[in-house]
Each structure stands twice: as C-alpha cells, then as structure tokens.
Amino acid sequence: MTEQIEAQGKRSGVNLVGLTKMDYKGNPSTLCQGCGHNSISSQIIAACFELNVHPEEVVKFSGIGCSSKSAYYFLNRSFGFNGLHGRMPSLATGALFADYTLKGLGVSGDGDTASIGLGQFKHLLRRNMKLVYIIENNGVYGLTKGQFSATADQGLELKSHGVNPYMPVDIAWEALIGHATFVARSFAGDPKQVKELIKAALNHNGVAVLDIISPCVTFNNIDQATQSYVWGKDHETALHELSFVPRAEEILVEYNENEVKEVQLHDGSTILLKKLGRDYDPTDRSAAITILEESNACQCLITGLIYINPNQPSMVDMYNLTEKPLNRLTEVELRPKRETLLELNNTF
C-alpha cells in the first residue's frame, strides 16, 4: 500500500490528470541538506507533474548509494525497486518487459554506474532499453563516506582520501560511444534544464542517459572539484535553452526559426532548443563527438542535450510482444494447448 505522506503545505493546483504535486512526492529525504540529489528529486517530481503522467505509469529503479536512496524520496505512488549496487540496469530491463506501457526511471550514482556498474550500464545502452537513466554524479561514494569514484577528477585531493591517481570515466562520452540514443549532461544547480531534460527523456523511445553533476556537499564540494557547486556555477555553459513540448500541445511560443531547433520524438512530442551562442544540432553524432572533445579541452561544464537519435527501435520493440502487457496474460495465453504436447511427444 502506498504510504500516505502528510501534506507539508497547502495542496497546490491540479494538473491535467487531476493530480496535485503532492501526488508525485515521495518520503521525506534523509540525505544531507543541500545535497544535489535532493534538488534532482524535486525536478523529477516537477517534471512528472507537468507532464501529466500518472505516477502509476512510472516505475522507479535504483542501485545503492545516496543517489540510489533518493528513489524513495519522489513518486511515492510509483512502484520502485532499489536493487543491488551497480546492477540496476539488468533489474530494470527485466522488469520493464512485464509491461511495455510503463515509463522506466532509473536513478544511480557515479559509483553505482561508473565504478561497479560500468558493464551493466554499457550493455543497457547497446540494447537501447527504454529507460530514463539519471546519474547523480558527484565524483565520490557519498554513502560510504567520500572515497573517490570512477568519475573523480584525476589529481583531485580530498582531505580524508588523498589524491586520486586515475583517469576519470566520462559518462557522456561513454554513453555516446556506447550507442546511447539520448545523451545529456546537466547540473543540479540548473533546475530548469534538469527538469526539461527529464521530461524529454521520459518521452524518448529508448535509453536516455542524463549525466547530472550533483554535488556532494559533505564530501566533495571543494571549489576546485569539477563536481562542486561553485565549479559548476562558474563553468556551466549551456548548449541551448531546452524545453519540452508534449504531443498534445501546440507549440505556442513564437520563435525565430533560426534561433530554435526542433527535435521531434517518436511519440510526436517535441524538444525545442533555443540557440545560445552556438549552432548545435544534437542529432548529429559527429557534432556530439566534437562537443565532448571540446568540453574536455575547455575545462568547462557543457550542459544540455548532447545527442539524440529518436528513430532507433528500442529494445522492447525488437521483441515483438503482444499488445496486452506480458504480465496481464492469462493461463490460456501462456500454456500451450494439450494437443501441442502430444504432437511434441511424437517427435522424440
């Protein structure tokens, strides 16, 4: 039974499916105050509320870590499974076969995804499983008290853990090379962008990787660390101003075509990308490669939708499943008829 969360304020307005924001909340967060993960949770709540998606149509998945715990702190009316460290991708893959109509939303950490979970993460991408995959990237293992994760800057020095000797895993790079069909990078300090990206991701027909820098205020928030708030604020360069327009809605804002790029998703909804400085086409893989190379070189935090291919079939598409969700099939549909076994027996 869904736990009832006490309203912590007045019920605000209802959305198109008749729900208030409260209906998208989760249990009270037990993360540290100021943790980037909390701010991402808020944007997940806001995105789902604004998308008018029924919480019952979203399924949450996570691994282990502070970030992974956060799946308990939003969408209390959604099913959720807090699995094993680094192995949420397989769990989500199996589960989402049960009902292809649902939207999968995975929350992971950089340790969970890039250290122990790198293998499962990469294989999820290859299969283009339809799943929003958020990495709350803080460069450390928050929950085990701040050791370096695989995304920590090389040379980063933290008080209790010395200097990180190894090269970092760049999650967006990994996603792009690994054939992800939706690759974005964002920053917990840029809530608007985070929210719009989540909306777009939830409507993408395939895997959508959101590498979100999400500072750990307790263990890795020194100003030099590229995963800190200060660094992020100082170095963020958005590729575009992004907004998501659902299928049903007409695009009402008027805009100059030269300044805005539209990307149409599989389900008819649209991502609007308002130019900021540069002309960037996220459907162009070479452009994405260039931008990632550049972002390595420029010492800046380039955020936005880096790459999208809205046309590749998702994993579930490949399996030619019945229209009725698999988990609603009944015995008649699942157990072959008696005669078939008699026939089979004759073949042995």
Partner: protein
C-alpha cells in the same frame, strides 16, 4: 596384430548375448560423429530395446578425443558402464586406453587406418575400411569426413542386427525429414552393411533382437525437457548467458517458444528470451521480470551460479519469484566444463551472505525435469521466492528414455497477486509485507497495476510490513522469522521423495537426481547377492519430512551422490542429526556418471 585366435574361437561357442551390452565409440570431436552415434542410439530405441547414450566430450570445439557410450539392456538398466563389450575405434590417439577398457571377449571395430599393435587375443577384431567405403558414395568432398562416421553405423548394424528401417527412421528424425542428407547417410550405412555381408563373418556373440520395451516411450535430453517444461509452465521471460552444459536449455527455449507461444491471431510473442552480457545481468533481469509479475527464469551452471549469489540473496529477501536452473558440471571453479557432478548442493542451500533459505528441486529423470520445469513457477510464485532446479550435465545433455511428457495436471498457481479489482474490493487497504493469512506469505502487486494504492517500494534493506524503510531491530527480527515461516508453508507444495521398497529389505539407499539408473541397477545386483534394499530418491530441499521415517526404518542408509564431500549427507545430518548414525556416505565424483558397479562394490564390501 592377429585376426581370430584360438581363444576367440572358443568363446564363440558361448551362447549368444542378446540385448545386453555396452558399446563405446571413440572418435574425435567436431568430426560429425554425433549424428552417427545418435543414429545408433535411436535405431536401437526404435527396436523396442532399452538403451541410453552418453557423450563424453572434451571442453573444446574440434580435434580432441570424444567417447560415446551406448548401453543396451533388456531389463532396462541403462546406467553407464566403465568397461564396454563393443569398442568402435576411430581415434588412434586413444586406442590403447580404450582397448584397456574393452571387456574380455569383447569386440573391437577399428578404422583400418589405425595401424597399432595390440595384445588381446581373446577379443573379436573387425577392421573397418572406412575410407574405401566412403569413396564408393557420391558425396560432396566437404561431407566425406562426416560420412566416414556413418560407415561404422552400417557395419555395426549389420553385425549386431540393428534394423535398417529403424536406422532410416533415426536419420529422418535427426535430419528433420530432409531427404537429401537422410538419403546420402543411409546410402553409406547400406554400403557399409553390404561390405560386411561380403567380407566379414560374424564371430562375436552380441546380438540385438526387437522387443516391445520402449513402446510408448520417448528418448530425449533433459535440457529439452526443461525448456518444454518451462514453456508449458507459461514462462514469459528468460535471460541467460551461455555456459556448458546449460546452454542448450536456453537454446531450446529459443527454438520452441516461437513455435508454441505466439499469439495465434497476432503472431505476437507472449515471451522474451534475452541473452545477457553475463550472469550478473541474467539473474538481475530475471529477478526484475519476476518482480514485474512475469514467470521468469534463468539457466546456468556453477560459475554462473557463483556470480548470481548476491542477486539470489536479494530475491530471497525481497521475496521475488524466479526460477533458476543449475545444470551442474563438475567444479570447483571452472572445473571440467563438459563433465558431470552433483556438487552445488550445499553451496545453494546456503547461497548468499546472511541467513538465507532456498527451495531446491531435484529431478531424477527427464519426466521430472519436465514436470518440475512447470511446477517450479507455481512454487516460486506461491512462495514468492527463488526456486533453484538442480539438473546436471548427464541429465541435461545426454539422451534418456522416458514416458511421454504429461500435460500439467493443475491450472497455473500464480500466488497471492492483487490486481486493480482486488484492491478496489479491499478499498486500497493492503500492505505488501503483512502476514494476513498467517502462513508467512503476503500479498503482492505488480507493476502496471493502476490502482492508486497499488504501488510499493521494494528493497534489499530493512523494511516494515508496510514496505517502509526500517532499521528497527524487532522489525528486522520479525521479518526474518516470517521468511522462515514461508519455508514451512512451502513444504507441502514440494515434490515428495520417491520411495521404492523391496520385501525383506535390509538397507536403505538415499540419493538425488541422475544417479537413479546406477542405483537401480546396483539394487538389482545386490538383491541377487541377497542384499535387499529400499531406495529413497529425495526430490526437494528443504526436506519435506518423510525422509525421517525412511531413514529410521533402516539401520544403514547409504547416501549416494556424485560429489566429494557428501553434500546431501551433510544436509541430512543438519536436519536429522539423531539419525546420522544410520547414514553412510557414498560420495564419489570424477566427472563421469556413476556406474552401478562402483556402488555395488562399495556396498558389498561395506556389508562384509
């Protein structure tokens, strides 16, 4: 080398040996001998004579020694024998060791190109002009090597009396009716037979005669039976990673599912089979699918199972139904990937850190493999826990006779699942982990249930009855106690031991799984020596309770198993320590299926 000695001629006068011998066929793997061997096996089976075939093959793809042993036995004892009566030798590399295992007075069929000396005047020796006979057939050059093996089929058939009509049927079976390969292979067989008629004189005593004993039976391997069992159990999701000897189980799913489980109208699939990137992922997917409300499974062998430990522990704790096939090969470690054992029992009984319990099903023949294949889903979903089925390489990959597979005799039991309408009736009032029925099994919902109260949060960490996170000590304790209760509830659902008694029996024999044929034969032999025995074949763990009475009814119970440490015996000791003095462990493991002789000798000596 000599052809026909005085010795041999003498023994010729002994009476004929009919339908009671073992054949070993020594070849090189990757040479296509599998078709020939399967043909021999199936044609004898089709003659109505009890038979079994075991492939003893190396862990590589091509070029190493492989043996195929066929046991023909009119009384139905078809366990493997260490020594054989007939040796078909196609591999010079193993000539000497093979010959050493030919019984006195046995028959050697030997590719005449193997020019090796030997000193066994008492045997019957038939050189085979393989090349020459193949040359007579018009066949594409790339097939010649394969066809070479058909020569020994024809020669053997002619000499021991395999019916050629049955050979033709067997070939049709093997080539799924495709006439071209059937014809060409059959032609080789006939030519070889013709050659025999013209050049050889039968001296050995081994003969086949048609019987009726296999009438109505089927002949197939356990991995096929398992896949079909799962399919008739309504499997919806299978994730797997290749590993010998489990691979063919999943591949059989892949073969049969599209034929048996497409929606008739739409041609859409009611299933998904996914080859994962490894076993960590295969089990993760299966647990996810089981949690999502699918009948989910995975199949693996030892190394894969080790990798699955943590996820299976989560499955136990988070109460997720899932079926896991462990087709055992000999371990520890990578071990011998193509050899059999029953060595994973204790590992599984305690699988996963912390206090865990797992339901293990222990099929002993292909019919049980099929039956447990579907029942396992019922059990897993009713108890909401992983169910592990222990098969092994021998059962899984070798050909076994069995009764026709029986259609499930009861409707699917999906366990305590609440859907929208159920929740409406309950007014949304339910709690995932509240033991309302007092049996330890609580009600669950699955994703896609759109009732606003349907959702709950699943985790591997502490939680209360309302699936809220909890670190409360009493909570944890109570939760673990409820989990324990589930396994008491499970017992009546588990297959009971099969018990076979003899009148005036003196000893008990206890075992599991694929040792069955060897045990049956030893019992028969022991009985002939005056040692009558009862036999209990345990088919599930946790033990269901009936084991006790059986053990109590004999002063000595031999616990027979194919591992080193006597793992079944260990588990029995834990459960029934007061009866341990009645248990005597016979644990032997060398990668090959148990022989009746080894057990017979052990018990006989022990009794002395």
């Amino acid at each position: 080398m000599q052809t026909q000695s005085e010795e041999a001629r003498k023994s010729e006068k002994r009476s004929q040996i009919i339908n009671d011998f073992s054949i070993t066929i020594a070849t090189v793997n990757g040479s296509g001998s599998q078709t020939s061997n399967a043909t021999i096996l199936r044609s004898i089976f089709k003659m109505g004579i009890p038979v079994s075939g075991k492939n003893i093959f190396p862990s590589n793809i091509q070029g190493l020694p492989t043996w195929y042993t066929v046991r023909v036995n009119k009384e139905g004892f078809v366990a493997r024998e260490d020594e054989s009566d007939i040796l078909i030798e196609m591999n010079s590399a193993t000539f000497n060791e093979d010959l050493a295992k030919l019984k006195p007075g046995g028959v050697l069929f030997c590719d005449e190109q193997i020019h090796l000396p030997f000193e066994r005047s008492e045997i019957f020796y038939y050189p085979m002009p393989i090349k020459e006979i193949v040359r007579q057939v018009e066949a594409p050059p790339n097939l010649r090597d394969y066809l070479a093996n058909m020569v020994y089929v024809g020669i053997l058939a002619q000499l021991i009396g395999i019916e050629f009509e049955k050979i033709h049927q067997a070939l049709e079976f093997h080539f799924k009716g495709k006439s071209k390969p059937v014809n060409i292979n059959f032609e080789v067989v006939l030519r070889a037979a013709e050659w025999v008629k013209q050049h050889l004189e039968k001296k050995d005593p081994f003969y086949l005669e048609p019987m009726e004993m296999t009438k109505g039976l089927i002949l197939t391997d356990g991995n096929t039976a398992a896949a079909l069992g799962a399919i008739y159990g309504g499997v919806q999701f299978a994730s797997w990673y290749p590993i010998t000897p489990a691979t063919s189980l999943a591949e059989n799913l892949q073969n049969y599912l599209p034929k048996l489980r497409k929606d008739v109208d739409t041609e859409k699939n009611t299933f998904a089979v996914i080859q994962a990137e490894d076993e960590l992922s295969a089990i993760g997917m299966a647990i996810g699918a089981g949690w999502g409300g699918l009948r989910a499974m995975t199949s693996t062998s030892g190394p894969g199972l080790s990798l699955m430990s943590e996820y299976i522990g989560l499955g136990y704790f988070a109460e997720v139904p899932v079926v896991i096939w462990d087709v055992q090969r000999i371990g520890p470690s990578t071990g011998l990937p193509t050899r059999t054992a029953q060595g994973d029992l204790t590992f599984i009984a305690f699988l996963g850190h912390g206090d865990t319990q797992h339901i293990i099903l222990l099929p002993g023949n292909i019919n049980e493999v099929f039956e447990f294949g579907w029942k396992a889903f019922d059990i897993a979903e009713q108890i909401q826990t992983p169910v592990i089925i222990l098969s092994d390489l021998d059962l899984g990959m070798n050909q076994w006779m069995g009764k026709p597979f029986e259609y499930p005799d009861s409707p699917m039991k999906r366990g305590k699942v609440l859907w929208e309408k159920d929740l409406e009736q309950l007014d949304g009032k339910w709690a995932r982990y509240l033991d309302v029925d007092g049996d330890g099994i609580t009600y669950r919902t699955v994703i896609g249930n759109r009732h606003p109260q349907a959702a709950y949060f699943t985790r591997g960490t502490g939680h209360d009855e309302y699936s809220r996170y909890s670190e409360d000590p009493q909570n944890w304790h109570d939760l673990l106690e409820r989990l324990r209760k589930k396994f008491v509830t499970a017992k009546p659902l588990l297959p009971k031991p099969v018990i076979e008694r003899m009148v005036m029996s003196e000893i008990g024999i206890i075992s599991i799984g694929s040792t069955n044929p060897a045990i049956q034969e030893s019992r028969h032999k022991l009985a002939q020596q005056g040692i009558k025995s009862d036999f209990m074949r345990i088919r599930a763990y946790p033990f269901v309770g009936e084991e006790k009475e059986f053990i109590e009814s004999h002063e000595i119970n031999y616990v027979v198993e194919m591992n080193r440490d006597g793992q079944l015996n260990q588990l029995l000791r834990i459960e029934y320590p007061e009866l341990a003095n009645r248990l005597r462990s016979f644990a032997y493991s060398d990668g090959l299926p148990l022989t009746a002789k080894r057990l017979f000798d052990f018990i006989q000596q022990d009794k002395e």
